[in-house]
Each structure stands twice: as C-alpha cells, then as structure tokens.
Symmetry: C2
Subunit: 296 residues, 2 copies
C-alpha cells in the first residue's frame, strides 16, 4: 500500500521519541477485509468490532506503555469507543442565550463521563503516547505489521506485540482474482489460498527479541487449549490469549509453554463494568517485566 | 429477527402519523452481512459505506418526504455522516474559565457547518420525519424490508422504495451452515446459494401500488445498461438507477422501460461539493409525481 513508507517513518520516530527506558506495545485490532474481486464489490470479513484492542490500549497506556494502535479503518478506537453507540448530533445542544449564542455544548448526560475521558484522551495525545495507524485489507495489515516490527526492532525486549486483530486465514492471490464484479450466475467464490502466517517471520526475523502475544478465538471450547498449544509450538512465541466467542468478555486463558492461567470476571465485576482487558493487560505487563529481566 | 414485530409497529405508526397527504420513502442503505458459520466468526460482505443512502435521505427530507431509513448497523447516517471521519474527542474542548468550568464546547472548526447541520437535524427529528431502522445480516434486511412494504401498503402510490443497499447475491442456507468456526485446514467456503430476489414479491405482492427504484452497480460499463433493462423486465418495477463503481459519485443513468437519462456532475460542480444524490432525488421525486397522477 502506498502509505506504508510514510507510516514506517512515523513509527520509527515514535520508537525513538520515548527514549530508551520506556516500553512500547503494538496493538493490532479489528478484522481484515479480503477482496474477492480486484475492483472490489464483495469481500470476506472477520467478525470483530475492535473492542478488545481498543479497550486494551487504555490499560496499556495506564500502565505506562506507548502504544502503536494498528487498527481496521472505522473499528473501535481507544476512549472514543465509549461513545460509539451514540449519534453525535443527538448529544449536542445549540446555545440560544444572548451571550454565548451560536456556541454548541455537549449534553453530558448523552455522553457519560465525557469530561473525565476527554481529559485523559487529551493528556495521552499531548504526551504523544498513542500512534494510530489504519488498515483496511489483509494485505495492508500484513505490510504495516512488518513495518511496525522493523521500526521497533531497535528497542529489543522492551517491545510487546499484542496481536488482537482478527486476521483472515484465507485470501485470493492477485493473479487469480477476477477483475470485475463476479456475476451472480457464475457462482460466487473461487478457491481461496491460506494466508501465510505472519507470526513466523515476526518471531524469527523482524522482532526476534520482542515479547509476542497472539490471540486464539474459537467457538468450540473443547478444542481451544489444544489450538493454543499448537500455536505456541509452531511459532515459538511467548503467549497465547485463548478465548471462546460466547464468553470472550468475561473469560480468557493466558497460555504459555509451561503455564495456563484462567482470568475470569465474577458476575459482580461484570455489573460494575470491570473489563476483562484490565486483567489481561496487568497479567501481560507483569509477564513482560519478567521476560525483560531474563533477557539482560 | 426478534425485533421485527416491534419495528413493524413503529413503521405502521410512522405510515399513519403523517396523514394521507404526505409521501413516504423507504431508503435501504449499506451492505449486508452473510454469515459463513452459525456461530459467526467469518462473513461475506458487500462494499458499501452507506453514503448513497444517507446522502439521498437528506434530499428526500428537503423535498418533503417522510423517510424510513433501513440501514446497516454503523453505516453512514443522514447529517451525522458529514462528521464520520472526525474523532469525536478531537472536536471537543473542556471549558476551564471560572463561570462555565466543566462545560464542554464543540470546536466548530473541527466540525464544519455543525451549527447549521445540527439545526436541520433537530428540526427533522422534532417533526418525526425520519424513522431509522437497523439491520446487520442479509436475513434481517429481508425481513425488515418486507415489514416496511406491508406497513406502507395502506398509502398505495404515495410510497416510494429506494433500494440503495448493496444486497448480497449469495448466502448459505441455515441447514448447510457449519455450527463452529471453519478450521483453516478444512478449506474456507461451502457452496453458496443464490439469494431469492426480493424485488419480485415486493412489486407483485407486498407493495403493488408503490413506486419502486432499484440500483445496479457494475464495474464493467459495457454491461451496465443491458443489466438494468434485464432487471426492469424481470421485476416489472419502475426505475433502475445504474452506476459504475469508479464513477458512481459523478455519473448515473436513470433507466425506465422507455427512457434513459444520464445525470452527470461537471468538474465545477464536484469542486463546489454538489452531490449527485441531489440530482437523482429531484429526478425521482418528479417521476413519482407523474406516477401518482397516472394512478388516479
């Protein structure tokens, strides 16, 4: 994609900017789009609102990480995500009084906690702690992830990769893709190829010293752990966060080669709007500290 | 879907509410999601931001129509769409002065024309002229369109259907759908079936007196008109708005059984941000008037 070079530069500056002490995390978030035609009318997509990634970003920022947020265009965004369900125009009021006439005020009942959230968002922005990078298609995602890994290779084990995006397993190679909209009468879908797993080169070549977390989402709980272990064996990275579609907001298993820890929210915590990402991030930042100390 | 009954009632009230004189239009907008698994991780989608539908809604409202806006969840929305690219939190300012401290003001430079747009939005809302209805999947879309047609059948030829949504041609029947996430090793996609065209029952049974417009999007201009004619012959409705992917924002052809009219924006008009939907809607509202007068 055309903007990769530009983004690469921004990411390298971001890696430098925060000095040698700080930690950085690359969060990937949202689903990937796989075009079925080269002038695309139809595409294959993965279920993902980007909630996991956007929520986690907040907790990483709270824990002192600088965050590269590599996310699908229009997926949920840190802080702003809290107001995604609200129509902007339903939350504004025109001031009609004499003095401030023409000003537009936010209805703070329509946007709960907005003052607090806005303050925190502005502080994070002013400190340059959040670098947002957008992708749309699978191919953009792959190129940008590689660029991020290369940009952060200079900081070694202080870099974490938190790969929460829902990446397609399948794609149609450019040379097999029809140019025009597939006509209904011709049947819909070609044979698709497996997407090369990027975890392999990421772990082996691009960021060999980094702390790498992948996610495993299944719908069938009975195969979940086996899949997580297989991923760790195949890619040789540090951690898999395993979760099941139906329960993903209240239950995950953090799996390493030697351990597996269940993180669970109680009903009471769910009621109090505690987020499981808070737990995931505090588990992983601790593991990252240990990982860093072992590298020295 | 569970909310169809509830929405049906809202639509019937909406049809009644505006009396016997007014015209109503059902606008469909955005792409449809076709699940590939019954606990869905992957789905097939159609390219559509919902821009055509959301923009058209504004011009229909300006022309005195009451609008049922049947749109894909999170696709573009009338008026609000103008600010979709802007991060909400980047457009707000905390007031720190003594008197109004704690209030939050809109930065009107970040949201151009916001005061004017907000006023118009609030007027439309207060007059109850816009009924938003959301869908996600193909199946929800089909059920809701049928419900809308039935709700408006009482007003006969005063109802227009403006079917701008990008509806999938393919689906997987429930009985052939795998329950769980398709494992990568098993290959991605099953044989998909053709979606039954809803235009047939809409025109014949559900809303036989209504003025019905469908859209035809192709990537290959050479087959465009032939496809439009074929649709008119097959479904026996009034009008096809035909457009080509690359040029859809500046050029469409309004095709009826006897006529075809090209609507084109000049470069100058594009620069002045004239929208082609303005032209499409004024063409169609005029045609609707003629259509209504022929029915009496």
């Amino acid at each position: 994609p055309s903007h990769v070079e530009e983004v690469k530069k921004l990411m390298a500056e971001f890696a430098e900017h925060h000095g040698s002490a700080g930690r950085r995390v690359v969060i990937t978030s949202g689903g990937t789009k796989v075009p079925l035609e080269s002038r695309t009318v139809r595409f294959l997509d993965n279920f993902s609102s980007g909630r996991r990634g956007a929520s986690s970003a907040k907790y990483f920022l709270d824990s002192g990480y600088a965050v590269i947020f590599l996310h699908r265009h229009r997926s949920l965004y840190p802080y702003t995500r809290l107001y995604t369900g609200v129509n902007l125009l339903d939350s504004l009021q025109l001031v009609t009084g004499k003095e401030d006439a023409g000003q537009i005020l936010v209805d703070q009942n329509a946007l709960p906690n907005i003052a607090k959230v806005l303050k925190r968002y502005q502080a994070v922005k002013a400190a340059g702690l959040l670098l947002p990078v957008e992708f749309n298609t699978l191919s953009e995602y792959l190129h940008l992830l590689k660029a991020a890994a290369q940009a952060l290779s200079s900081i070694g084990s202080k870099a974490m990769f938190y790969l929460a995006a829902a990446v397609s397993d399948f794609y149609i190679p450019a040379y097999e893709m029809p140019e025009h909209k597939i006509q209904s009468s011709n049947g819909p879908l070609q044979i698709m190829k497996m997407v090369p797993k990027m975890l392999s080169p990421l772990v082996k070549d691009w960021a060999p010293k980094a702390f790498v977390i992948s996610f495993k989402l299944e719908t069938d709980p009975s195969i979940l752990l086996e899949r997580a272990w297989r991923a760790l064996e195949t890619y040789n990275h540090q951690t898999v966060v395993a979760n099941v579609l139906d329960t993903r907001r209240g239950y995950v298993v953090v799996v390493t080669k030697d351990t597996q820890q269940e993180l669970v929210l109680t009903d009471e915590e769910v009621q109090k709007e505690v987020e499981i990402e808070d737990r995931i991030v505090s588990n992983l930042t601790e593991a990252h500290s240990e990982f860093m100390s072992r590298q020295v």
